[in-house]
Amino acid sequence: TGEPESSATGGSGGLEKSALTIGVVAVPDAAPIQIALDRGFFKEEGLDVKISVEVGGAAATPKLVAGQLDAMLGNYVALFLAQQAGAGKFKVVADSYQAAPDNFVIMAKGDNAAINTAADLAGKKIAVNTLNAIGTLAVTATAKVAGVTINEKEQYVAMPLPEMGAALETGTVDAIWVAEPFISANAKAGAKKVADSMAGPLENFPIAGWVMTDKFTSENPKTVAAFQRALAKAQTLAASDRKVVEEALPKYTKIDAATAAVIALGTYSTSLSEARLQRVADTLTEYGMIPAGFDVKALMAPAAPAQ
């Protein structure tokens, strides 16, 4: 959105485009953008940034391609699959978030004696928020470590996070894969943790990064650089001070301050590394989600020149 503005407003000299619409999913991963907005990092770079709330990576990708979004916070699994499917040519302009323990948890009904560990997931119905994304990958990997092979088409059921509790309660599904604040909410309602899906093979797994189209990055190098610089400051702040994140969360989500103070947060990254992206590609290949030989380099945008 927004008509391209040729002249820059800030002092950074000739941005190709200064008004940006950034798509984010309302989860903790996106905190840096709110921080950057609040602290005026974008303004300093002459950028006028608007947040567009997205439901998920698969839905936001076409918007990026069509130009309704200039950048988005994309989860890597969805992004790699989209790139692989030829749904567009994308660039990761910055890394954002990686998993920490207990970020994403597999839960079951508290009084369900049949499911206690990941090994009990054989043949069970498991709710995830999106098919073919980080959720299915995490659950499949966790189960595999426990010696169980998940039949993706039979066992995974897609549903929005808030509805999973009721589905668990009524027996529509046997297990759910949830993040905060739903972990706390379900625990309160009597669900028990079965496994941390971000342990073992997925420990510290890269979750999300800031994505633009190849076309946009090549046509607007200065804008991209300005965006990267502003974001980098925010990422650093988020990585170093949990309080900053806790303050930002209630502003773009409905996670209240009290919840924000206690939930398990992942790690905010401060730099983009090809090795980390390669790890995502390797894992996806291992689970048959993309063929071997996926070109990670094609996804890498040049890092921002220091100002």
Binding site: A87, K153, A158, M159, E163
Partner: protein, 273 residues
């Protein structure tokens, strides 16, 4: 003489068939050309969609009418729920619509609630249905019924209210029983409008079938569509779109046959001779 006549009729029927469906090949050719020129991965050419369609669903054995296992597994439950949902919505919608149209007090007491419900997006109701109806199929049926009942209800209510005064006065004067008034005066007279509603809701039922399978389901056409969508399999998505369109065509054709029978008086009475 007789045979020549019937031969002529065959020819005429064949030409009218051609005239009727000319738009199909024309659209297909245009579509193919357009997609081949633009070459967008999101808009594959229809020939490719057809191939995938065939591979997924139509390459089965002749004993299964060429349907593949996956087609049988996917279509069966979905279409079952669709027809069940549509039937329930049709019966409920007509019954409620007649009651609302004829019983003034009832309409006044319930109108706001109904108008309220009508404006609620079904996707937002799914969580509520989840809590109220528990598990799978009942929830899905509830979603379908809730989504498709409105055209029938609104059209029936309006149709029943609009019965010509002359017709009703005749019924009153001759003291028809309530049943006869309903069965032989009100319903036939409102039938054109009721059928408009039923026809609208039939294709809506296909849509709601898909919507109901997007959440909390791991089978059916809706799930299969979601899976294709979330795997960035755009040709697959299009195959589903085509499938829904073809099913819609099919249902509509059957529906029009039924309507032709019930409403033949109407078509003839309204024809300019």
């Amino acid at each position: 003489m007789a045979s020549r006549q019937s031969g002529g009729r065959h020819v005429r029927r064949a030409t009218s068939g051609v005239l009727r469906f000319w738009i199909v090949p024309v659209t297909l050719v245009l579509w193919e050309l357009l997609t081949r020129v633009t070459e967008s991965p999101y808009f594959p050419p229809p020939s490719r969609i057809a191939t995938q369609f065939y591979d997924m669903w139509l390459s089965g054995p002749a004993s299964q009418l060429l349907l593949t296992e996956s087609a049988l597994d996917t279509f069966g439950p979905s279409l079952g729920r669709l027809l069940a949902g549509w039937t329930i919505a049709g019966v409920l919608g007509i019954a409620l619509g007649v009651a609302l149209g004829r019983i003034r007090g009832l309409a006044e007491y319930t109108d706001p609630v109904l108008q309220f419900l009508r404006a609620l997006p079904p996707p937002l109701l799914v969580p509520i249905f989840f809590v109220l109806f528990k598990i799978g199929t009942p929830t899905q049926l509830a979603v379908i019924v809730f989504g498709v009942i409105w055209p029938v209800l609104v059209n029936t209510t309006d149709g029943v209210r609009a019965v010509d005064k002359g017709f009703l006065e005749t019924a009153r004067v001759f003291q028809f029983s309530r049943y006869d008034i309903l069965r032989r005066v009100i319903l036939p007279s409102a039938m054109p409008k009721i059928f408009a509603g039923l026809r609208l809701s039939l294709s809506l039922a296909l849509i709601l079938m898909v919507v109901s399978e997007l959440v909390g389901s791991n089978s059916g056409i809706g799930y299969s569509l979601l899976y294709a969508q979330q795997s960035y399999d755009y040709t697959g998505v299009w195959a589903h779109i085509v499938l829904l369109g073809v099913l819609g065509l099919l249902f509509n054709a059957l529906f029009l046959v039924a309507e032709g029978r019930v409403l033949s008086w109407h078509a003839n009475a309204r024809r300019n001779v």
